[in-house]
Amino acid sequence: MSEWTKRHLLDVEELSKEEIEMVLDTARSFKEVSSRDVKKVPALRGKTVVMLFFEPSTRTRTSFELAAKRLSADTINIAVNTSSLSKGETILDTARNVEAMNVDAIVVRHATPGVPQIFAHNLKSSIINAGDGCRSHPTQALLDMFTIKEKLGRLEGLKVGIVGDILHSRVARSNLMGLTKMGAEVTVCGPSTLIPVEIEKLGAKVSYDVDKVIKQSDVMILLRIQKERQKDHFLPSIREYAIEFGVTTERLKQGKKELLIMHPGPMNRGVEISSDVADGEQSLILEQVTNGVAVRMAVLYLVLGAK
């Protein structure tokens, strides 16, 4: 595999094992750029990258913007208030308007699954999915895989636990698809109400026992529990979640010393993760953020250079 052919990055499912490796390899070389004094290479000079966000985001948007800027692309942020959209203009109208200004790539986030696919079908620009509803968040999965591989040297054969609100998590879905494709064994863990039906068919093992997952895992990815889940009857209380599923230093003692803890952010300290774990030696949380820029540089570079 020497040539990248995909003009879009829509989800992890569409990437082959070789393509995932290629993103990770490319990211490795770009990571060094961000540690330089002059954090810029001319790879995408003259290209325009638009961040078209229909859902609020600070981290992912900033990460993409830095990635594009470090590759010398011109960037624009467009935050669209979807409530004003429902009348009149459709999302496709908005995207067509953006494209009419001759942009090269559109990084899109939307609360509804499939919007990046619809854009890719209807537009000429490269489309990069920065999160579509509860479906997919491919760059997050890629940066998580990059981070794990950087630490442990491999993905194949690793046992990864993903803990939290699996039902509403695009991070969980994308990591599950990506990690299993790369040969890791993924267990999803959380309250039964927050595990989607038939997820076993996507290759996941299911557990409701976080202690068991801690004991068996090489890596754990903890997910944010949103307060609304209590109101929507998914959980009796956030307090009970923290007691039953929250990862604490005490609990981690049952696991391997080298068990790695990850979190896509933003964290609820004291709920799914205790502060000492978040800030502890096993935590990779800030490295994930650092690597995010490198991985997004790799994605932009590959997609815009696609043959």
């Binding site: 429902s86 459709t90 999302i91 496709l92 939307h110 609360a111 509804t112 699954p113 499939g114 919007v115 696919q117 619809i118 579509d132 509803g133 509860c134 479906r135 997919s136 695009r170 879905r173 989607p196 039906v197 038939e198 997820i199 068919k201 996507l202």
Partner: protein, 423 residues
């Protein structure tokens, strides 16, 4: 006055063994025979094609008043005639909802003015479809309602439904229930199952449909009342209705062409034309709906013709409205998915599309080609293959998930009340 010549007459009870002529006078079939002579009559020679009783749809949305940008009684009637329909029942979730005699009367008069199909308004069960106060059922029935429904949603309040069933039984009007427990379906946009998990979409579970079906079966059993179930879509629903019939509960049920033709795997395309309520279910459910049609658990086929504008369907999957047009593809889907695949015979399909719906609502002059019956007749070619093309729809809206598909079975002409309404 009209003479149809050389037709192969197909009724719910069989196909004529020779080609026959059908003589029509004053909107009635007056004579059926071989080599009928009728000097001075307009005559149509159908040259051996099938003639069946006109199709009857117990479930369509003509959107008028209020949503004329999607469909009107006129454009809906044209679509119906093109699809071989001669009688269409229109759901009351218009704006305002059809919940009083003035609106019932408006729909009937507009239907007659257009004059292409027999348009029967379905009245709302509750005022404003608000699930609180019953509508004036006696008055609406006298004005022309044969059915009532709060379609678009269930009558969620069980006490309201109990009263509605008891009262409507006295009036002699049938309630058609859209079965969906909205607390369970919540914001679901597709069937809850493997594909909703794969796609990260909010799921509407089978149980949102079956809890209401179960409740209504129990109410109908307890009260000794009739009830009709709209758009049955799940395996479990079919099982519950089958059991209810064995128990002697007076239930009838309809299924829609999309629920016996398409499964939830289609949502992978993110094409909003596949978004519908109840949602497209799993392949197991699709097979169960077919079995239900075959064994008689499901009495009839209804379209749930639900036009929406292109702008609305261009919204993202969560925001786009549910529903698809169906009048112009229903018969062909029946032939393609049921007759060609050995689920139903052609006569059974005609039963499901004409005789059975006529029985359910008590239209005793419809649903059969026989002397003395209404001259509502559909002429079709059961073997003709054709491609569904967006611009060919007579409906004002083109939101069909079947665009681009090749189907078998084409309506050639439609005669309603003795008048040719499509050719």
């Amino acid at each position: 006055m009209l003479l149809i010549k050389n037709a192969k007459i197909v009724n719910a009870d069989g196909v004529s063994d020779k080609l026959q002529d059908i003589l029509i006078e004053d909107g009635k079939i007056v004579k059926i025979g071989v080599n009928l002579k009728a000097d001075g009559y307009q005559s149509i020679d159908v040259a051996g094609k099938y003639a069946s009783p006109g199709f009857i749809d117990l479930h369509a949305h003509f959107r008028q008043p209020g949503h004329e940008y999607k469909e009107t009684i006129e454009t809906g009637s044209k679509a119906a005639a093109k699809g071989g329909y001669t009688t269409v029942f229109c759901m009351p979730n218009t704006k305002p909802p059809i919940d009083n005699i003035a609106l019932v009367d408006f729909v009937i008069r507009e239907g007659k003015r257009v004059g292409l199909v027999n348009v029967y308004p379905i009245g709302a069960v509750t005022k404003g479809q608000q699930d609180e106060e019953l509508t004036d059922m006696f008055e609406m029935h006298k004005t022309g309602c044969l059915m009532l429904s709060d379609d678009g949603k269930s009558v969620n309040n069980s006490q309201v439904m109990r009263m509605a069933l008891q009262y409507s039984q006295m009036v002699g009007v049938l309630i058609s229930e859209h079965c969906e427990d909205q607390l369970l379906s919540k914001s679901g946009v597709m069937n809850e199952g493997y594909f909703s998990t794969l796609l990260g979409m909010k799921g509407d579970p089978v149980v949102s449909e079956t809890t209401i079906i179960s409740r209504d079966i129990e109410l109908a059993y307890y009260l000794g009342c009739r009830i009709h179930f709209a758009h049955v879509s799940t395996k479990r629903s079919v099982e519950l209705i089958r059991r209810a019939k064995v128990d002697g509960v007076k239930v009838s049920a309809e299924a829609c062409p999309h629920h016996f033709s398409l499964s939830d795997k289609e949502i992978k395309s993110f094409n909003t034309h596949f978004k519908v309520k109840p949602p497209l279910r799993s392949e197991v459910d699709v097979e169960a709906v077919k079995t239900g049609l075959k064994d008689g658990t499901i009495d009839c086929i209804a379209t749930d013709h639900a036009p929406h504008s292109q702008e609305e369907k261009e919204l993202d999957f969560d925001q786009a409205p549910s529903g698809m047009v169906g009048l112009e593809t229903a018969f062909a889907l029946g032939v393609t998915e049921l007759v060609s695949k050995g689920v139903l015979t052609l006569t059974q399909l005609i039963d499901k599309m004409s005789a059975s719906p006529a029985r359910i609502v008590g239209l005793d002059k419809k649903g059969k080609i026989a002397e003395g019956m209404d001259a509502d007749i559909t002429i079709f070619d059961a073997d003709k293959e054709w491609e569904v093309i967006a611009k060919d729809f007579a409906s004002k809206s083109k939101n069909s998930p079947f665009i681009g598909k090749k189907l078998k079975g084409l309506v050639i002409a439609t005669i309603c009340n003795g008048k040719q309404t499509y050719a």
